[in-house]
C-alpha cells in the first residue's frame, strides 16, 4: 500500500511569513498533485507535477517534485489570510487512475 506522510499537520502563522509543507513517501508516484480545500467545500486542484525534479510556480506558491518522485513540497511566500485552508497532497499510482492522499495540513494565516 502506498502511503504519503504530510507535515506539518497544523500551521498557524502571521501574514507575510513564509512556510513550507512536505509530503514524503517510500513509494514512487507517476505524478503528484496538490489540492486546497476550504471549509464546506471539496478539494480543488492547485497543481500537478509529473517529472522528477520539476518545479512549478503559481503566483506566491512554489511546488517541487523530488528527483526520485517520492516526495514533494509546497512553499508559500509572504502568506496572506486568503491562503488559509487545508492543503492536501495526493500521489497517483502507476496507472494514474487512483490517488493516495496525505493527511493534510491545516494552514491558518493571521492578519
Amino acid at each position: 500500500t502506498q502511503l504519503l506522510e504530510q507535515s506539518p499537520q497544523f500551521l498557524s502563522i502571521q501574514e507575510g511569513e513564509n512556510l513550507t509543507v512536505y509530503c514524503n513517501s517510500s513509494s514512487v508516484f507517476s505524478s503528484l498533485q496538490w489540492y486546497r480545500q476550504e471549509p464546506g467545500e471539496g478539494p480543488v486542484l492547485l497543481v500537478t507535477v509529473v517529472t522528477g525534479g520539476e518545479v512549478k510556480k503559481l503566483k506566491r506558491l512554489t511546488f517541487q517534485f523530488g528527483d526520485a518522485r517520492k516526495d514533494s513540497s509546497l512553499h508559500i511566500t509572504a502568506a496572506q489570510p486568503g491562503d488559509t485552508g487545508l492543503y492536501l497532497c495526493a500521489g497517483a499510482n502507476e496507472y494514474g487512475n487512483k490517488l493516495v492522499f496525505g493527511a493534510g495540513t491545516i494552514l491558518r494565516v493571521k492578519s
Partner: protein
C-alpha cells in the same frame, strides 16, 4: 466547468438505517470515486468505478456498497449505518487517459446517531 454535485450537504441518520448518498457529474467522465474524510486521516478511498456497472474496492470498503447504473451517477450505500460511519463523504470524477485530475463535489456531512 466540471461540475460534481452531491445530493445532500448534511444528513442525520439513525443507527441501522439504510443510507443513500448520490453523486452526479456532468463532464462525461469515465471514473468516479467515493472517499471519506476524517480529521488527521486525509481522504480514504471507499470505492471507485471506471465504467457503468463496474466497481472496485478502495482501501476501506467494509460497511459500504456502490451502484453505477448510469455513467453520470455514482451512489454510495450504507446498508446499515453505524456511528463509526459518521464522517464527511466526498465524491469525485475524472476522465481516462493522461494524468488523473479528480474533480470533487462539495461533500456530504453524515451524522449517524
Amino acid at each position: 466547468d466540471v461540475k460534481v454535485t452531491q445530493s445532500s450537504r448534511y444528513l442525520v441518520k439513525r443507527t441501522g438505517e439504510k443510507v443513500f448518498l448520490e453523486c452526479v457529474q456532468d463532464m462525461d467522465h469515465e471514473n468516479m470515486f467515493w472517499y471519506r474524510q476524517d480529521p488527521g486521516l486525509g481522504l480514504r478511498l471507499i470505492y471507485f468505478s471506471y465504467d457503468v456497472k463496474m466497481k472496485e474496492k478502495g482501501d476501506i470498503p467494509e460497511g459500504y456498497s456502490v451502484s453505477r447504473e448510469k455513467k453520470e451517477r455514482f451512489s454510495l450505500i450504507l446498508e446499515s449505518a453505524s456511528t463509526n460511519q459518521t464522517s464527511m463523504y466526498l465524491c469525485a470524477s475524472s476522465s481516462t487517459g493522461g494524468i488523473d485530475i479528480q474533480y470533487f463535489g462539495a461533500g456530504t456531512r453524515l451524522s449517524v446517531l
